[in-house]
Symmetry: C2
Subunit: 148 residues, 2 copies
DNA sequence: ACAAATATTTGTATTTTGCAAATAAAATAA
DNA sequence: TTATTTTATTTGCAAAATACAAATATTTGT
């Protein structure tokens, strides 16, 4: 059996690189961290700051400042929550949504190209494998706070 | 078919977290970037600075300074190459090797624990899937300089 | 021998990071 | 209900990471 960590290392490095390279949309450049933030805000419905910071395992103070930047850039909207006045609710502006969508399209395009080199069966197998992996990782208790 | 990017995002985030959490060995704390550097130096035979910086897609000036730190910490040895006097050759000190090995053991331990939740057949399938994925990503030309 | 290319370092300025502390609101306890 | 504790977020601050431009040294190509 080959070195499993090495396989993961290569795979995640490549995917990380892909994410990074998809951070330039037209005249706008965002950082990898910002791209992840947009992605998660887009995915959730009116999440709070703490919620997204937790998901990204990001220090809340760093996150707070990144959100300030994204608001200044006009990509994120931050509104006080009506229910709990400690909480701020996040959402994407039209511009932010556009960026997030464009990045998403590019990444999925690349992935589609990669999968086009496989047979349909292989593709199904690989996808099922990643799902299984994610499920097993989620169950594991050995490591990796913050868990989510 | 579900969202493929999301599957990757979750998987790589988890693995990234694992890597990060395995950066503390006893009294020594290294950064994630430094952990990756140690890993790659360990993997190659007397690599040059440029070589490792390329593999990690790291700016060479940032890399140079990180190596300076690792040398100061006593984890990396940097020697002028006999063949080409522009080049410096990198290797791990005993201490550095120890750190790298310990990190490697911890990560593989976690992965083993994750795989222990699968049948032998599933495990084989997942590993073969990741390998296939890596091969197909390597072939792809659409995206992702720096390629390696 | 000379120009161009390669490997590495330093100057410098910007950005990111994260701990400690502050603020404000909500939840819980007395 | 008032006091205390907890939770969400921001700011101060100092250290670390980042990257572009320029410098240095060496090698390669002509």
């Amino acid at each position: 059996m080959e070195n499993i960590r090495e396989l993961f290392q290569v795979m995640t490095r490549r995917f990380g690189l892909l994410n990074k390279n998809c951070c330039s949309i037209d005249p706008i450049d965002i950082s990898l961290a910002q791209s992840h933030i947009l992605y998660e805000i887009d995915k959730h419905h009116s999440p709070s700051m703490q919620q997204i910071a937790d998901i990204l395992a990001m220090d809340i103070t760093t996150f707070s400042r990144q959100i300030q930047n994204l608001v200044k850039m006009g990509l994120v909207k931050k509104e006080p929550s009506p229910e709990d006045r400690r909480v701020y609710t996040l959402s994407l502006t039209t511009q932010g949504k556009f960026i997030a969508t464009t990045i998403d399209r590019e990444i999925n395009q690349y992935l589609a190209e990669v999968f086009s080199r496989m047979t349909e069966f292989e593709k199904e197998t690989v996808i099922r494998s990643i799902k299984l992996l994610n499920e097993c990782m989620a169950k594991s208790s050995v490591c990796c706070k913050p868990l989510f």
